[in-house]
């Protein structure tokens, strides 16, 4: 193989090194931040004040507090519920169903649905937060259309159903991604195979479950990998919409991390939370990557 490449290039380590430089810088920067968070998770570094300059090593104290102090476990649970319902059940399943239902159609309906879900995806998070805040307000769209006309008392949605509201808002915001990915994946399933299954007498449901789903399995795993990572660390929409509240009802790990690091000002503890998040997301990613492998 070696003689196929330009001998000048392969023998010139300097030029090769120069070519690799951008990649090395990129990797170094990424590693630097991860290493920084990891190192400082063993310290009592503060955002401001004396401890921001004269910090000291505290061993595993920050990690112990993840389990002995109120907050982390509650937030982890909130995050799991949020990720499961908004990303896995909501975005993924809804995205797949829409993609399967609208597949091959070239109707006005398809265009309308596509544009609508794309709009949610394209809106900036803060705008989406204001929009959902207004929609779910007592004088908002939901109450004026579906509650008050039936003679019921307006419902204060954010106050009473905070987690469902942010979950639905996130489904609305993120379904477009899953829809696009599944649409493309389903298009790649060759028509002949589906036709063959049809000729063999498979029902529409069987055709999806037995034929199409196994073929697009790698796409499902890739999609799961992406949206789980995104949703697990997702911050702006929740923070802007509820700030983690009322109380701690919507305090996901990302919001908890923000509050501990920047409101309480404990960067050491905040780093420990981010390391814990890294471990959890890493473990989930491994599971998905395993799913990506072809069955033997």
């Amino acid at each position: 193989m070696r003689n196929q490449a330009n001998p000048w290039l392969t023998n010139n380590l300097f030029v090769l090194g120069l070519g690799m430089l951008p990649a090395l810088v990129l990797i170094a920067v990424l590693l630097y931040f991860t290493a920084w968070a990891f190192a400082f998770s063993f310290t009592d570094l503060a955002l401001v004040g004396r401890k921001s300059v004269e910090w000291s090593w505290v061993g595993l104290e920050n990690f112990e507090r993840l389990f002995t102090r109120r907050g982390f476990l509650e937030s982890l649970w909130t995050t799991i519920i949020f990720v499961f319902f908004s990303a896995i059940v909501g975005q993924s399943v809804l995205g797949f169903l829409l993609a399967a239902a609208l597949r091959g159609r070239n109707s006005v309906l398809k265009n309308v649905v596509e544009v609508s879900i794309m709009l949610g995806w394209l809106l900036p998070d803060i705008v989406a937060a204001f929009l959902w805040s207004a929609t779910t307000a007592q004088t908002g769209l939901l109450n004026s259309l579906f509650v008050v006309p039936f003679g019921l008392k307006p419902i204060n949605f954010i106050n009473e159903f905070a987690l469902p509201v942010v979950t639905i808002a996130n489904i609305w915001k993120g379904t477009a991604w899953s829809y696009l990915l599944f649409s493309a994946a389903l298009d790649s399933v060759s028509r002949e195979i589906v036709e063959a299954a049809k000729v063999d007498g498979a029902t529409p449901l069987q055709r999806i479950v037995r034929v199409q789903l196994p073929i697009i399995r790698p796409h499902i795993a890739t999609n799961m990998l992406f949206i789980t990572i995104w949703t697990f660390t997702y911050f702006p929409l929740i923070y802007a919409l509820t700030g983690g509240g009322p109380g701690r009802q919507t305090e996901t790990l990302a919001v908890f991390l923000y509050n501990q690091s920047f409101s309480r000002g404990n960067l050491g503890f905040g780093s420990a939370i981010s390391v814990a998040m890294l471990v959890i997301v890493g473990a989930l990613s491994l599971i998905y990557l395993r799913m990506l492998r072809e069955p033997k």
Partner: protein, 439 residues
Amino acid sequence: MLKTGLLTTVATLSLALGATVPAHAEVSIMYAEWLSSLVEPGIEAFKAETGEAVNAIKLPSQGYDQRIALDLSAGTAADVVQMDSFMVSELASAGYLAPLDGLADTWDQYQYYMPGLLEVASYNGAVYGLPTDTDVRMLWYDKSNFEKAGIAMPWQPKSWDDVLDAAQKLKDAGVEYFFQLPAGTKQGEATTMQGFYMALLGADTPEGDRNRLRNRETGQWIGDSPAIRRTFEFFKTVYGDMGMPADLNYATDPGAAVRAALADDQLGILASGSWEDACLWDCNGVDLPSREERDAMVGWTPWPGSGEPDTKATTNISGGWTIGVNANAADKALAEKLVTTIFDVGNFKEWTLANHRMAVRTDISESPEYMQDPYLAAATKLAADTTGRDTVPGYQTVSALIQQATADILDGADVDQVVQDYHDALVDEFGPENVMVYE
């Protein structure tokens, strides 16, 4: 993760690129949106006078404190920064701010600042921020809803029971947000100051600082006391037993949500401060209703004490904002010049009077226009018996822990547990020797 990683890289690379470009002569300033009517005319005057360019960075009020702390610690803050006065000592102790005492010799208006207010913005004897205003805190109320609920006006509650009684009447009359008592983490310092501390000060006797977060004699934070418990009970009564909706505290823009509730006639009592005379409509004083219209809509009364033996009859705590200079400012003299131009008496006095802010300088507070203003006169009367926050390094952390504790109360946690969590967190942060308990 991928996204954040990429963004961080882009940000770092652009910073690295930025560092290689020679610094250009301009002075930058960071300030909160609500202070624009003071800062922006000052910037214009500065530009006209010096011919220098100003990079004005206007930020939203939501999350402002965190942004400033983060930018100063990361070295990305502007040359001139507006800060809540409680943060000054903490930021100064980390070496982020430049002392301003030199202005005493070079600027003839420095002498008019009230020493007590400069003290709040000091650390180790040096002044690090010049105050923009100070304030007093009170209970605002919506007059039309009080009339609807049949509560006599002017409203003069004498104890917490009187306040809760009025709140119950308002609730029975169908007022949705019958008692907006700031709580939770999203409003930051507002929860601690407008809500928690105002109640705490009246929850027990002032003796031995039993009604505070910190014992100023021993320098210890108070991890548990009857006053702290009573105050949490008070929050629990309002949000738990009486069922006050908590969502205003967590709205996308809490200030706007309170204004909307007032406009919709859904607000009963609002625990807040003297700035609301403008801020209930617009903090920068744009399109304010006339004095008569405002007086017809809302009134205010001092916060009563709890009514427990030996407690204060009314309580008050004052804060305020400051403007200081970044220790890393490229041209400190120019930065100081921008500060003094903003605070030049013409601009400063006009803003103070137009927005009904409480003056921080004797040349303004002793001016006839200020002294003849009935609202400012009444507010100043309240200021005769006020106190300040525990503005020592660490306060920001304690304040955040208090906010978190009120959030747990909103979640229905019981007071014993909340106090225990608060105490443990204080010990985590400051060590057992710096935390005390009042039985």
